[in-house]
Structure formats: C-alpha cells, structure tokens
Symmetry: none
Subunit: 205 residues, 4 copies
C-alpha cells in the first residue's frame, strides 16, 4: 500500500503539482480512506520527502556504479552518465520532474538534506571533469563548476520537454548532447576538420 501511495502521488504531483494535489486526490485515485494515507505517511510533506530521497539516492547509486567502472575513460563515463539520465526519463521521468520542481515545498531541514545530496552528485561530476582534464581528455581553460552547471542544466531540462516515445530516439538525444558538449556546434574550417578526422580515427583505433 505504501508503494501504491508513492506511485500515485508521484503521478499526481507530476500532473497537477504538489500544492494542487490534495490528499483527497491521492486516496480517491487509489480507493482508500484518509486514515490509510496517514497510517503510512506522517504528513503530505513527509511523502514528498520520501519521493525526493528515493529519487536522489537511486540516482547517486547509479552514478556510483558508472564512476567505479575502471575500464571507462572519463569521457566515456560522462557519456554514460548523460545516457543514464536521458534513458531514465522513460522510467523515472515523473519522479525526476517532481524532484526538480517541488523541492521548494520541503521544510528547511528536509531541503538541506536534499541539497546536500544534490551537491554530492554535482561535486562527483566535477571531480570526473577534473580528472579528465588532468588526463588530457578535456580542456583545462574552463572553470569546472560552470561547465558542470551548464551540462547539468542542458541535460536535466530534458525532463521537461523530451518525449521518449516521440520521433527522437534516446540514442540520438544522448549523442547530440555529448557531441555539443565535447565538440561544440561551430562549423570547423577545412583544415581543422581534416585534422579532427585524423584524431577521430586515431582515437577510435
């Protein structure tokens, strides 16, 4: 029952927003009574916190798995991470949207905890970037924090517009983002492109 309440709440919070979703809405959807809701959750806010914790903890766990794979370059890790985020939209898109939209309804203590987790995620990404720079995979003339904020902004926003059942495949989206992030959108001059080609060849060999 607890699980069902969580699931339906996420649905409704995604569809209508936290403040416009009443406990009544939730229990009506499930077909139970108020008492049942409060048997499983102390308050509406605690339910929201639960959703947040579930989401960020799973995300951190998945991030950890990717980061710990020693056979991957930092570039590849970043690619996999973006892929992870995009591919999760289908399964966890609702949670993700709730997570990214409704955290303002948490109280101060809850918010602090969630923001610590958020930061943890960002800092790890930053470290990934930093290591990649040291290894010569990434440029060393950009502020890491800004770059990461930029990448996260770009990728995370997908939750708000990307339809996994639409005409753009997940692969194309991931590849496009990675391409922009790695190479930029500027058209290279001929010579540059040639060399780029060589590099690419050299690289993939």
């Amino acid at each position: 029952m607890r699980g069902r309440i969580l699931k339906e709440s996420i649905d409704l919070f995604d569809k209508k927003g936290f403040s416009k979703t009443s406990i009544q809405d939730i229990i009506d959807t499930i077909g139970v009574t108020k008492g049942t809701f409060y048997y499983y959750f102390k308050s509406k806010q605690e339910l929201l916190m639960d959703i947040h914790l579930n989401y960020i903890k799973e995300l951190l766990a998945e991030q950890e798995v990717i980061f710990n794979d020693e056979y991957l370059s930092n570039k590849e890790k970043m690619n996999n991470l973006i892929s992870l985020i995009i591919k999760n939209i289908k399964i966890h898109g609702k949670s993700a949207r709730v997570f990214n939209r409704e955290f303002r309804h948490l109280d101060d203590n809850q918010l602090k905890l969630i923001n610590d987790y958020r930061k943890e995620f960002r800092i790890k990404l930053q470290k990934l970037l930093g290591e990649g720079i040291e290894k010569g995979e990434f440029r060393d003339d950009l502020r890491c924090d800004i770059v990461i904020f930029g990448i996260l902004g770009m990728v995370n926003r997908s939750y708000n517009w990307y339809d996994p059942d639409g005409e753009v495949s997940e692969e194309e989206l991931v590849n496009t983002y990675m391409d922009i992030i790695l190479n930029g959108i500027k058209k290279e001059e001929k010579t540059a492109l040639i060399n780029e080609k060589i590099i690419e060849n050299h690289f993939t060999v």
Copy 2:
C-alpha cells in the same frame, strides 16, 4: 499602486512560491487592504498572468532587437542573446524564476498563451541557428531543435544558481557558455589546435 503590487508579488513569489504566498502576505508587505488588491487585479491568478506576460513580452522584444541587428553574424547574435539572459539575472532574476517555476499555476487558457510566446522565443532561436548553418557558421549535422533545447536548458538554469554578486563575473559566465556551445570541452590534439588558432585569427580579422 498596481506597479507596487506587481513588484512585491514577484518578490514574494520568488521567495516563497506562488501557492505559499497569500494575498494577505502581499498586502501586508505593501500596507494596504484586500479591497485594494482586488481593485487592481481580478484575481491572484490574473496577477500571476500579468507577471508572466510582462516578462515574456519584454524578453521577446529584447530578442527582437538583437535579431534585427543586421551588422551581427548569427554567431554574434547568439552570443549577445546569451549575454542578455545572463545579464538580466541581476535585474529580472526574480521575474525569471517566477516565470520558469510558477507557470503551472496558470489556467489552461493562460498557459496556452504563455506557451505560445515561449515557443515563439524558441523558434526564433532555432531560425537563428538554421540561418547560421546555411551560412556555414554552425555545423549542419545536428538537429536544430535539440540543440536549441540544450542551449536554453544550459543558459536558463543559471537563474537557479548564478549569483551576479559572486566571484564569477557575468562576462566570464557568458564566455564560458559560448565557448562550450561553440567549441565543446574536448581537448584538441596539437594539429587541431594549431588550425583552430588560424581560424580564430581569420575570424577576428
């Protein structure tokens, strides 16, 4: 008075969120009574709509100015647009955050109108990109819509974390974003870099 209500509402909606800000909060801040509020606004929602309209219309107007400048390349127009957005954080950050967070509280008709404006902004950007591609300024092997969504995600998110009074200057932020967008973060191989240099020289000449 109307202006004061708008101003204080934006402040409060930014600080506490739309649903957690009551009319009472607003009028207490200003020091008037309920009747006054309803003399100037039909409803709380109409006030929110007003804020949205003011924001998006001004943004579109400023976009228009930049786009109509025939002395700028598309690359430069994009740079100026990003600069516009970042520099607006100091003056219009509150409005922007309200605009990007609270639109879910508009009713269907209002939301449709706002979304049309939003789309107009995005489509214009997309056209800018498209023209740039035709002129050879930008790569032609990426989907325009995805690229624009990516860029907007990256830049717009700044409203949520960027502190214009912090250690990063607006110029640095704009340049970093433009650099990532145009060139990417991948470290170029020597030969590539050399050619890049040439391009840059060629470019600035």
Copy 3:
C-alpha cells in the same frame, strides 16, 4: 461580533467543555461562518486565552479596588473579597468555571502568563493576611500560604456547585464562609471569648 463570539464561546465551553466544543458549534450558535470566526480570532486557543485574560484582569482590577480602600480593616477587605467572588458567580460564573477548568488547554507561554496573574492575585491576598496578622486582626501561628490556599479552595469551589438562584442567598453563603474562616483564624483573646457568650445568649434569645 467579537464580543458575541466571546460570549457564546464562554457559554459553550462552560456547558460542554473546551475540547468538546468545536468551532462549528460556536459559529452555528451565532449563525455565521468559519471565516468570520477566524477573522476575529487567530485560533481556538487564542480565543481561550482571551477569555482567560479578560477574566483574570477584571478580577485583579476588582481586587485592587477593594485593597486600596483605606477605610476598611483587613478583616473587612477579606470579607468584601469573598463577597465579590460569590456575587460574581451570577454574572461571571461561566467565565470563572471556564477559567478554572480549561486553562490546561492553553499552550506553555499562555499558561505561564495566566499563572503569573493567578499568583499575583494569591500573593496580594497573602499580603492582606500578613498585614492583618501584624495588626492583630488574625492569628499569627499559621502559615500564610497554606491559609490562603485553603480559603481560595473553599471559596472558589463555589463556582462548581453554588446556584445563585437557589435557596441559599449570596449573603448567607458569604457570611457562612467568613464565619468559618474568621472564627478559625482570628486571634482569640481570653477575655474576648467570655464576652462572646453574652452576645450569643442575647442573640439567640
């Protein structure tokens, strides 16, 4: 309206008790809506506090008047005070019962304030007793605090059983209490005791 709410609330709190009286009960009695109640009172508890403050402040004011009358002996002042309490049952009996029964529903801060006032009332009575002892009006071999607690217990309980419209007149009740109290705590002179007999004899004849 505020006054009406106060009045009807006291009635209901006296009749049914604070916790069993709902806001709904109160507004139904008056014929207004919930909003009206909350326009005048921040909460049910604040209403209760208001009742308490009104009651104790008026009581203290009346105590003050009696105490400041310099033409009265301490014995007479005590008599007048008891008379005041008993005679108030008709007009303020409901308030008094609410005051003496429902204070446990106040929160800690409210309760502290009310208890300070309560204590003030008691301490003043104690001073009255102390002065009377010094002037030889009362016995000096009893603890003032206990005596006052005893007197207050005796007199205050009347709110719970005394019916001002019943067969016992207010005068008789006051006189009986004073008689019990005075002839108990009054310093008996040897000679005095002898003469008392004469009166009694004379009286009963």
Copy 4:
C-alpha cells in the same frame, strides 16, 4: 496488562489531560498495539469510567472505615478524614486529579453514577457533621451543606497545588486545615464566648 494500561493512562491523563491523550499515546508508553487496548477496554471512555470507579469506591471504603470506628469522636473522625485525603495525594494524587478534572468526559449515564457516589461521600460527611452538632462538638448555627462544601473545597483543592515532597509536611497541612476548620465551627466554651462581646463592642467603637 489491564492494570498497566490503567496505571499509564492515569499518568497520561494527569499529565496531558484526557482529551489530549490518545490511545496511541497510551499504547506507545506501554509498548503494545491498539488491539491489545481494545481487548481490555471497550472504549476510551470506559477506561476513564474505570479510573473514576476505582477511585471513588476506594475513597468511600476508606471513609467507611473511619466512620465506623466507634472509639473516635466526630471531631476526630473529621480530622482523620482530612488526613486521609491529604496523605493520599502522594499515592493517589494522579487519580484524584483525573477524577476531579476529567469527569466531564464521561457520558450521561456514567456521570450520573459517579455523581451519586460523590454525593454519597458528601452526605456521609454531612451526617458526621450533623451528629457532631447534636453531640455538642460543633456549632449549630451554620448550614451543614454549606460547611461541608466549604471544607471539601478547601481540602480537595490541595491536589492541585500541594507537593508532598515540598517543605510543608503532610502533618502540618492537615493540622493547619483542621485548625482553621475546627476553631471555626467548634462550639465555643462559655467563658470564651462572653468576652467576645466586649471586643466586638470595643472594636466597632
């Protein structure tokens, strides 16, 4: 288990009041579940009734013992009764406070029964006083009912303020009360009464 529930309930009802104590509070304190509570008690109100019945029945039984002691004068019986009440504060103070505060939460039938017992206790005391008057132990010019209400008010209130572990010993409290009461209602000796007249005359002049 039944006993534990009773004990903890009295504790909680004394500390927080009946209406503010939930079944949940009670079972949490004991460490059992709701079912257990309802296995032993039909309802919360029945539990309250149980507490009331236990209390008043024991009190009546103890009253009975004192009253049936044929070696005691009525004066002594009254003294012992007051002593009984005061000394009980240490052991039964919580029950007594619950009994004197929470009876309003009983339903009509329960309340009627409890009030009958209460009355029985009072009437017996009144009879004790009446017999004492006949035997010349107490004054005969005061209404018995009022006197008993007064005495009970005085003594019973002790439950609300008297701390058996404080600086005033139980003996001192009992003696003070008895002193106040007895020397008030006690029939004065001949010689003593004669002198009173003189004082009074002297006084009013």
